[in-house]
């Protein structure tokens, strides 16, 4: 459904992405793993054009696009099929939880207010926060804010959701609730690409793993295969270092 070939990005003179290929099908959940500074977040931001790629070709729903050559209008049209969940939530701080979800529906998708609210409430219900519909972001915990952000993403009925370290900014006791919501989405067949440090979560929820290091995709494989038959020395070292930290 989404395929990337030769994605390159240089920021401030250093090459962050050195030609990345990836492909996911409908219903796939791809976990992007790897050490910090490996280009995971930049990759995800390029996928939604928050950063403009220097080179690369994207095929999305059968349509081939030259990534650096996308016009503002092309990007806007593409974004109506996608959603993005940020590490720091980025809820609109002058809007309530419900308004955060309806905003894009009403303003960008020109939906009727009543219909948008109905859909938004259903989305909030899905993340277990319907009772917080009138709360402002600063009245919500980090975990609740991130769940509202996920509701905002889901409400647009996107073909794919990009999640950038959705639990990295959260207190440990709040992580579980957010991961549970994402797991539920995966079960419902939502296509997602998740940059994460939660290896266990990746192991149990994702269908595919992409391992990024130094701007390259070192490995892309179905999850079972990736974890069972890992032969690459670099990846084994990475997991050993994680074990040490957690051990």
């Amino acid at each position: 459904m989404l395929e990337i070939k030769g994605l390159k990005k240089t920021i401030g003179g250093s090459e962050i992405l050195k030609g990345v290929d990836l492909a996911i099908g409908k219903g796939d959940v791809m976990a992007v793993l790897g050490p910090s500074g490996g280009g995971k977040t930049t990759l995800l931001r390029c996928l939604n054009y928050l950063e403009k790629a220097d080179a690369g070709e994207m095929t999305f729903l059968g349509q081939r696009m030259d990534m650096p050559g996308m016009s503002r209008r092309d990007i806007a049209a593409y974004r109506r099929h996608t959603a993005f969940v940020f590490q720091s939530y980025n809820l609109f701080s002058n809007k309530t939880a419900l308004q955060n979800v309806t905003e894009g529906l009403i303003v960008a998708r020109k939906m009727e207010k009543a219909q948008a609210e109905e859909r938004a409430l259903a989305a909030l219900e899905r993340v277990g926060l319907a009772d917080k519909r009138d709360s402002y972001p600063n009245q919500l915990s980090g975990g609740q804010q991130q769940r509202v952000a996920i509701a905002r993403a889901v409400a647009g009925e996107p073909d794919v959701i990009f999640l950038d370290e959705p639990t990295s900014a959260l207190d440990p006791e709040l992580i579980g609730g957010v991961l549970e919501v994402i797991r539920q989405l995966a079960e419902d067949g939502m296509t997602m690409i998740i940059v994460t440090h939660e290896v266990n979560f990746a192991r149990h929820v994702s269908t595919k793993v992409l391992f990024m290091d130094e701007g390259r995709a070192l490995a892309m494989a179905p999850t079972g295969e990736f974890f069972q038959e890992q032969k690459l020395e670099r990846i084994q070292t990475f997991f050993r270092s994680l074990d040490r930290k957690e051990g």
């Binding site: 109506r80 996608t82 980025n90 809820l91 002058n94 600063n138």
Partner: protein, 227 residues
Amino acid sequence: MSGRVIDILISSFPRILGQGLMVTIPLTVISFALALVIAVVCAMVQIANIRGLKQLVRFYIWIIRGTPLLVQLYLVYFGLPDLGLMVPAFPSAVIVFALNEGAYCAETVRAAIEAVPKGQMEAGYCVGMSYVQIMRRIVLPQAFRTAFPPLSNSLISMVKDTSLAANITVTEMFMATQRVVGRTYEALALYSEVAVIYLLFCTVITKLQAVGERKLNAMNGGNVIRA
């Protein structure tokens, strides 16, 4: 205080306050409203980085902030007639105060817009909104909350600065006082009286600012502390 002074104070009070309500306040309100429009436009031009216009705005701010308000008043009221441009006193004052305050407020508004986290813009793009939509519905309302206290400051400043308009024959509150002093020679008492009236006006604005801040906070969920 002699009975004569008290009589003068009492009889002059309605006249001075009257000029305050009929000239000082309208002059302030009209000029400040125009200044806000100028400020938002100038801030947006700079934020959106519109080439040519941005340089023009920087030039305008440079000139206004680098020259005295009094000189600007004289230039427009006494200077422009040399070019055949006669502007009556009150409109001259409005033009100068609006342009002057606009330049300062432009910087306030620009700083407030820049203080809105970049993630708000990105989140807007990701739900499919356009730059203009995000600015209008997300960024500017948040920036307004940040800009509100310094803008109130500017407004309070302007109430008092309008006394400079006396120099170009606008019969606002201060000039009304000067006239009474000219007749009665009670400078201390009368200038104290007008000072108290300015203080009164500014106290009202300060109270309004507090009410406004409470309203704006309520629209952002109780307080402005952001996680």
